[in-house]
């Protein structure tokens, strides 16, 4: 029991809320500042308990039930159940209660289990020990007892228990290294800095004397932002105020590395830590299938209501005759008679609702959930999507969107790291127009003797020499690369061999590493940062030391970074490196034209370019800069804005030094993938922050633009010449001319013979297009822009800010066709678009895991997108489409006979089927086959799907869930129901059908209908199944057998504890009658006949591409699926030839598709051979690499 605890306790109950508003004051070690300063107002902060669980033991049942019944479907079934309990119901409440109970229980168990796991994880975290300094001693406590203001001791490799402000470290310079791998996936070591004035407090005793308060903002989820101020009270009264930034904050979840220990003070605890704030769940995405499912549901709800209404009305019309309402043999009870007619009518209406409620199947939701959940395993299991390099396969973060993968129309892809490897190689640099190329680069490995410089241009004069060296030094100094030295390293990133040991560079930006390494090869080696001095080994093997004064960090808005250094001779330099667009406007001298020409040349080659500039600072200037930065950094409000302003003021009047070029190679099979996606009818947009020329080159390389593509530019350059309005209209006219001559070809991406358009737009122009105008013509601009985009097969948006990417996605998403969008990216800058798009895919890239964590699906490489969409997406879509349609169909079949029966039983709500059948129909008799179908159905072999991207068009635009098809299924259900009912009706009509003359009753009638029903719907599914594995056989025949066995058992004995025995021997008696058998067979045949005929006819007369491929595949007995280029080429020849004169009655369209189909096969052959070429290249590379490393 110590003082602190009591004080905390008191503070918990005595504090006012006024200090909560936007900043908090933390008293380090809970020590009051010296008197005279502001009053000590203890604030109440939550403890450090992490609660990720949703429920507690006590509130699980009510809370979980509440959550579950918030779902509209569950609520509906609850209402039905309650209605059944209240009114005199035609079916026992069990029939809807049991399935509902089943569904609720299963969900509750699943959620309960998940929550239990969370509890366990929470407990493990909350109880792990932390070391707290109290009264100069180290005390061990459980993590959850940690309070804001506690001083914590964290040792190496420990994880920070909460968000901390770094006070001091074991290192003299007050730095520590941290990896945030579990936070954002970046495993690089980041440097954090202790507060300068406290870094000397290095022991527990010293810390006990520290009196300081921290003022900081209230917790915010942004991991990289922090604004605060520390006030240190020393003997003198005036406290020293120091700014605190994100470089002082150690985040919960990060791990201390390479530092023996640190002392830090807790500022945000428990659920207020940035990690906890970041765990808030994303908004739920719903798939298009789910939307159509809900639409169908509403239709069925209307059908249900109208059925109930019709029956109620007819009932009262029919009952107008009292002898019908109440014949002598069937009198009502007294209480029934006395009920008001309106109440009776209403009860009847409800009773009909209850009777027909099965038309909305409760089990559909469960089945769909299960299908999605289980089905998503096939993605994670997929071996082809496993990447050996990363050692990981695809990840599914939300299984709700599986089928959406088969519906994608627009793909928005990031360039760097997604299309390209993000594996940078320094290619060349250009100083004052002279080009330097370090020779012999082999796949990131450097030949040992690569110290020399190849100069393409003539060697510079003495003046040039000076500039050249300054340029190299600038690149060596202007970065945030760290040096990691290690003895036993066999090459991470760019392992570089030196005489003594191995050291390598790490940075969050691969460009920087590439540059620093490039410099090394050009003779200037960056050694390390020591005591705020950067050491460089120059060409003469001398060590030069520069004092690092300021770092103006990189951000994506400025697109540049700067450092201020003091050279050994005392000169102050400001070096700046950044995108050409952000450097050139700030340059006042230097050979701008030559450099610009080179930069543009390089950009066209697809290289990433950076420009380097510098300026010499006088001491006074430096003082001003310091002042400027200091005030900006100290600001509590709007610090970012002020910093940006300060940077803007500092980074000007540069002297241009030169430019660099770094290559980012295309990812493996990126071009092939993009080609396939194009052929599949998807429009691929590249959204990148890169320069237009670089991005365009990548687009050409990745076959996004072909040579034949006519490029439309919508860039600042053009809008400078003309105004935006004219440019837009110009472009739309160009596009629409072609469009008008075309006879409505929806698959414009496919039309090869027509002009293919590609659009390039840059960020600035996009802003102009999107900008709301005063005269309100903005909608117009947007519309024109969309119209242009719609007619372009590929669009490249360059110079995009992260938010603009999301904007573009949103623009397309909400355009009038509401296309399904997919965003794919690997970096943190893609997160916004990944979250915005219908389907977000993250690449487990080099820039950390943020994209992968925020995505719906994560894949290791861009090439895996092909299988993800073309195979998995396609399969999931057809599976779930059939699942949804089939469910509605089988419930129409199920319920419609009951509806018809009402006309023959005086609208008395007499159920046709027995309770057990009503209950189990959806749960067990017909549930497993469709679930299995929806898990493993493959209408076409996956190899064909992959080779023939055009098949994807067959399912585009939610084509299997169109209203036409839905209505077809519904009518099929109604037809089948009519067949069942009237078949049985005519069989039963006033005659016997047993050989002993005995009669059957109403339950036999129902059982006969039900038997036909179960067999028909199961066999219908069997006819739809194209992929019969042993599991299918087992489940389909098994569930039929189960029905028979169950029926035998259910009617086989007198069931105790049951107040009716109406099913006793009914099933057996029915089976003992020959005509019943004949009738069952006949009715099943008749029910299945129309569907089979329709299918066969459609296949013969109007086959879809899918069906043609199926036919062909069958003819080849699966050989098509194997990789036999010869045979497929053969086939394609013949097919292509025949396709021309095939089916002249059909429009040109399908035959074109067919051609494409096989062209696809041929093309694949080509890529195969070309990939062979690649392979050869690769091996050459690796051979070279071997040579060098040995």
């Amino acid at each position: 029991m110590d003082f602190n605890a009591i004080r905390n306790l008191i503070s918990r109950y005595c504090t006012g809320e006024e200090n909560w508003v936007d900043s908090r004051t933390v008293y380090i070690g809970h020590r009051e500042p010296p008197p005279g300063t502001e009053a000590y107002i203890p604030q109440r902060f939550p403890d450090n308990r992490i609660v990720s669980s949703k429920y507690t033991f006590w509130n699980f049942v009510p809370k979980n039930l509440f959550e579950q019944f918030r779902r509209i479907a569950n609520f509906y079934f609850l209402i039905i159940f309650l209605v059944q309990l209240i009114i005199d119901t035609p079916t026992s409440p069990i029939t809807s209660g049991l399935p509902l109970f089943f569904v609720i229980t299963v969900t509750a168990i699943k959620q309960g289990y998940e929550d239990w796991l969370r509890h366990k994880a929470d407990n493990a975290v909350n109880q792990c020990p932390v070391h707290i300094i109290q009264h100069g001693k180290v005390v061990r406590k459980q993590s959850h007892k940690l309070r804001v203001g506690d001083i914590v001791l964290v040792k190496e490799d420990e994880t920070f228990p909460c968000d901390l402000i770094l006070l001091s470290t074991s290192r003299d310079d007050g730095t520590c290294f941290v990896t945030t791998a579990s936070l954002d996936g970046e495993s690089s070591h980041k440097t954090y800095y202790a507060v300068q004035d406290t870094k000397s407090f290095n022991t527990e005793q010293e810390l006990d004397t520290l009196r300081a308060t921290i003022e900081c903002e209230q917790p915010q989820p942004d991991l990289y932002k922090f604004v605060g101020r520390i006030n240190i009270y020393q003997e003198r009264d005036e406290p020293i105020a120091r700014p605190l930034g994100s470089e002082n904050v150690l985040l919960r979840g990060a791990t201390l590395k390479n530092t023996e220990y640190v002392y830090a003070v807790a500022i945000y605890t428990g659920m207020e830590t940035k990690m906890a704030l970041n765990y808030q769940s994303k908004s739920q995405k719903r798939s298009a299938v789910e939307k159509s499912m809900n639409a169908f549901l509403i239709v069925y709800l209307c059908i249900l209501l109208s059925k109930a209404l019709i029956n109620t009305v007819l009932k009262y019309v029919w009952q107008a005759n009292p002898n019908r309402d109440e014949p002598w043999y069937n009198e009502k009870t007294e209480s029934e008679r006395q009920r008001h007619v309106l109440i009776r009518a209403f009860t009847d209406f409800l009773a009909f609702m209850v009777l027909f409620n099965y038309i909305i199947p409760v089990s559909m939701y469960v089945t769909v959930e299960m299908q999605k959940f289980l089905g998503s395993y096939f993605i994670t299991w997929d071996e082809e999507m496993f990447d050996d390099e990363i050692g990981e396969g695809a990840l599914v973060n939300t299984s709700d969107l599986n089928e959406e993968l088969g519906q994608v129309e627009y793909i928005f892809t990031d360039k760097t790291g997604t299309l390209t490897e993000n594996n940078m190689e320094f290619i060349e640099c250009c100083v004052d127009g002279h080009v330097y190329v370090p020779h012999a680069i082999c796949n990131g490995q450097i030949l040992p003797g690569a110290l020399g410089i190849d100069m393409i241009d003539s060697s510079p004069g003495p003046d040039g020499k000076e500039h050249e060296e300054l340029f190299f030094r600038a690149l060596c100094l202007c970065h945030t690369v760290q040096v990691k030295e290690e003895e036993t390293v066999d090459g991470i990133k760019r392992g570089i061999h030196q005489g003594k040991g191995t050291s390598f560079y790490i940075s969050s930006s691969p460009d920087e590493v590439a540059l620093v390494e490039g410099m090394k090869r050009l003779g200037f080696t960056y050694l390390r940062l020591k005591d705020n001095h950067m050491e460089i080994l120059n060409r003469e093997d001398e060590i030069e030391r520069f004092e690092l004064l300021e770092v103006l960090n990189f951000d994506s808005v400025r697109r540049r970074m700067s450092v201020i250094v003091r050279s050994g001779t005392g000169e102050l330099y400001l070096f700046c490196k950044g995108a050409d667009s952000s450097i050139f406007p700030r340059v006042i001298s230097g050979k701008v034209e030559q450099v610009r020409a080179r930069v543009e040349h390089n950009a066209v080659e697809g290289l990433r370019t950076l420009c380097v500039a510098y300026k010499l600072l006088t001491f006074e200037e430096y003082q001003d800069i310091c002042q400027l930065l200091e005030t900006a950094k100290l600001a509590l409000q709007e610090r970012d804005k002020k910093l940006a302003e300060a940077y803007d003021a500092i980074e000007r009047d540069f002297i241009l030094l030169g430019a660099t070029a770094v290559e980012d190679r295309l990812q493996d099979k990126a071009a092939d993938t993009i080609e396939s996606l194009h052929k599949a009818g998807m429009k691929v947009w590249v959204l990148t922050g890169d320069k237009m020329e670089t991005a365009a080159a990548t687009c050409y390389a990745s076959k996004l633009f072909r040579r034949s593509t006519q490029i439309l530019e919508l860039t600042t350059k053009r809008t400078e010449e003309q105004n935006l309005h004219d440019v837009l209209f110009d472009l739309s006219r160009t596009v629409l001319r072609q469009h008008g001559s075309l006879t409505r070809d929806t698959f414009s991406g496919l039309s090869n013979e027509f002009q293919d358009y590609g659009l390039i737009i840059d960020g600035a122009t996009l802003t102009a297009v999107m900008k709301p105008d005063q005269d309100g013509s903005t909608g117009n601009y947007k519309e024109i822009f969309l119209e242009i985009c719609r007619n372009c097969s590929a669009v490249l948006c360059c110079r995009m800010a992260p938010l603009q990417k999301a904007q573009i996605v949103k623009l397309i998403k909400f355009s009038k066709e509401h296309p399904i969008t997919l965003a794919i990216g690997d970096g943190a800058n893609d997160v916004s678009m990944i979250l915005e798009a219908h389907v977000g895919i993250g690449i487990m890239g080099k820039e950390g895991r943020q994209a992968a964590r925020n995505s719906d699906y994560a894949i290791p490489k861009f090439k895996h997108l092909k299988k993800m969409l073309l195979v998995h997406g396609h399969y999931y879509y057809i599976r779930i489409a059939e699942l949804v349609q089939y469910f509605f169909y089988k419930n129409v079949c199920f319920i419609f006979p009951q509806f018809l029966y009402q006309f023959f039983c005086g609208f008395s709500q007499q159920p046709l089927y027995d309770t057990a059948y009503l209950t189990l129909y959806n749960i067990s008799f017909t549930s497993l086959p469709i679930l299995l179908y929806s898990l493993i159905e493959q209408h076409i072999n996956m190899d064909i799907l992959k080779r023939d991207p055009s098949l994807y068009r067959d399912i585009a635009k939610n084509s299997l869930l169109r209203w036409r098809i839905f209505i077809y299924w519904t009518f099929l259900g109604v037809f089948d129901a009519v067949v069942f009912f009237f078949g049985a009706y005519f069989l039963f009509d006033n005659t016997t059908f047993t050989s002993n003359g005995q009669m059957f009753g109403n339950w036999t009638f129902g059982t006969l209908v039900f038997t036909v029903l179960v067999f028909t719907v199961t066999l219908k599914l069997a006819l739809d199944t194209h992929y019969w594995t042993w599991i299918n056989h087992f489940v389909i025949w098994g569930s039929l057998l189960f029905y028979v066995v169950f029926s035998l058992l259910w009617g086989g004995i007198i069931w105790p504890f049951l107040n009716y025995q109406r099913m006793y021997y009914v099933f057996m008696q029915m089976l003992s009658s020959g005509p019943a058998w004949l009738c069952i067979i006949l009715l099943i045949t008749v029910s299945l006949l129309p569907d089979v005929v329709k299918k066969v006819m459609c296949r013969a007369l109007w086959p879809t591409t899918t069906e043609r491929i199926q036919n062909a595949d069958k003819l080849y007995q699966g050989h098509l699926s194997e990789f036999t280029p010869l045979s497929s080429l053969h086939a394609s020849h013949h097919k292509a030839a025949d396709a021309h004169h095939l089916n002249p009655r059909r429009s040109e369209h399908p035959s074109k598709k067919l051609m494409y189909t096989h062209w696809g096969g041929g093309a694949d052959y080509c890529t195969f051979s070309s990939s062979f070429g690649h392979l050869g290249l690769h091996s050459a590379y690796s051979w070279g690499g071997h040579e060098t490393s040995v």
Binding site: T179, S188, N323, Y329, N330, E331, W381, E383, F386, D388, E389, I390, G391, G393, T488, D490, I492, K493, Y875, F904, S908, Q909, Q910, Q938, Y985, F986, L987, T991, T992, S995, G997, Q998, M999, G1001, N1002, L1023, H1026, W1028, I1031, N1032, N1059, Q1061, Y1064, Y1065, S1073, P1075, L1078, L1082, V1092, K1095, V1096, M1097, A1100, P1103, N1111, K1114, S1127, A1131, N1143, S1182
Partner: protein, 372 residues
């Protein structure tokens, strides 16, 4: 100090290097690598049937070829069945039961009798089954169907004394529980039908009607049981209960034969199996074939003596007496035969259509598909 563990990324780098220099993947990668099983890779061996005109064609012809003979067989069988129906409701003033139907009252102690005469044009050769048929009688009305207590009928003593609530308003009378309770039992068909053959010389011979074997065996022996097991003194067993309000006698007075009395009375059991449709017939008696030589019911004139107890005119119902012979497929029902013939012909026709289509289009498709 610097030589601390360097995690995932390091391995990545390692892998990229090793992957570049050779195809061997690191051992750590294998652990995470998904299993290469046919199921997980969705490559289970499978039969992949496709419904094409070619494959379905034979099926259609086969169905046609099987269904048409079956249909013809059924149709012929159905046509060979003799069936005779006579309506004795007495709606017309001319009909013999008109008076009975008019002067009906539940409480009259003297039963009203009427005789309907008819003649059979053709002899009924084999066993003849005698049915009574009711029309417009909603035995399948929900209120009616559930108005019974199966455990009472199964001989449960507790239910006998305290019948299920479902039996309301036929649950108790005069504070005594009704046995058998419920609307179905209450409305038991209680006309008595007797059949007489009128010889050409004018003598009436009563035709023996067998009343056993008209109910399901399982119903009679398992589902329906008298309370008290094999206690034949049903009067004692049913003590404390009362008869259904519309009944003239107690349930234990239904028959003199103890095997056919009480709840196991076959007429009662037959009635208790509620019909599916409002027009229905129920098996009443069986006329056994006497010998191979003479037909069971020879050609000639007959009289049906009706003890007219059952009122149907209030709900516009009809009462019929049906005589029918039975084949293996039951009574006369042309539906199945016609349906089979129709479906068979349709299938055959579709088969022909498909054959044409297959020939015209399928061949082209195939020729496009097959390279040679």
């Amino acid at each position: 100090m610097m030589a601390s563990s360097y995690n995932a990324k390091e391995e990545d780098g390692h892998h990229s290097v090793s992957a570049a220099s050779g195809p061997s993947a690191g051992p750590s990668a294998k652990s995470k690598k998904p299993d290469n099983t046919a199921f997980k890779q969705q490559r289970l061996p499978a039969w992949q049937p496709i419904l094409t005109a070619g494959t379905v064609l034979p099926a259609f012809f086969i169905i046609g070829l099987i269904f048409i003979p079956i249909g013809i067989g059924l149709f012929v069988t159905s046509n060979n069945i003799r069936e005779f129906e006579v309506d004795y409701t007495g709606v017309d003033a001319s009909s013999p039961c008109f008076t009975c139907s008019q002067t009906y009252s539940w409480n009259s102690s003297i039963p009203c009798k009427c005789a309907v005469s008819f003649s059979l044009e053709q002899p009924f050769e084999s066993n003849v089954f005698m049915y009574y048929g009711l029309s417009n009688f909603y035995q399948n009305h929900r209120r009616y169907v559930k108005s019974r207590d199966d455990s009472q009928l199964n001989g449960d003593k507790a239910s006998l004394r305290n019948p299920s609530k479902e039996c309301e308003p036929y649950r108790s009378h005069d504070n005594k529980p009704i046995a058998p309770c419920g609307a179905i039992a209450n409305s038991l068909f209680n006309d008595t039908l007797e059949l007489f053959y009128i010889d050409p010389n004018g003598t009436r011979t009563q035709i023996p009607l067998v009343k056993k074997g008209i109910a399901w065996w399982t119903d009679k022996h398992v589902k329906f049981r008298n309370p008290g097991g094999n206690n034949f003194n049903l009067t004692v067993v049913f003590q404390g209960t009362t008869k259904p309000v519309n009944w003239r006698k107690y349930v234990y007075e239904l028959d003199t034969d103890p095997e056919n009395n009480g709840f196991v009375n076959e007429d009662f059991i037959v009635w208790m199996r509620t019909a599916a449709l409002p027009t229905f017939r129920k098996l009443y008696r069986i006329i056994q074939k006497k010998s191979n030589m003479t037909p069971t019911l020879p050609r000639g004139n007959y009289t049906l003596d009706v003890t007219y107890n059952y009122p149907v005119r209030s709900f516009e119902g009809r009462k019929r007496m049906i005589l029918s012979t039975i084949s293996w497929m039951g009574g006369k029902n042309p539906f199945l035969g016609i349906a089979y013939i129709t479906v068979g012909s349709v299938c055959f026709f579709l088969g022909v259509v498909l054959l044409i289509i297959h020939h015209k289009y399928g061949n082209r498709n195939n020729s496009a598909d097959i390279p040679n």
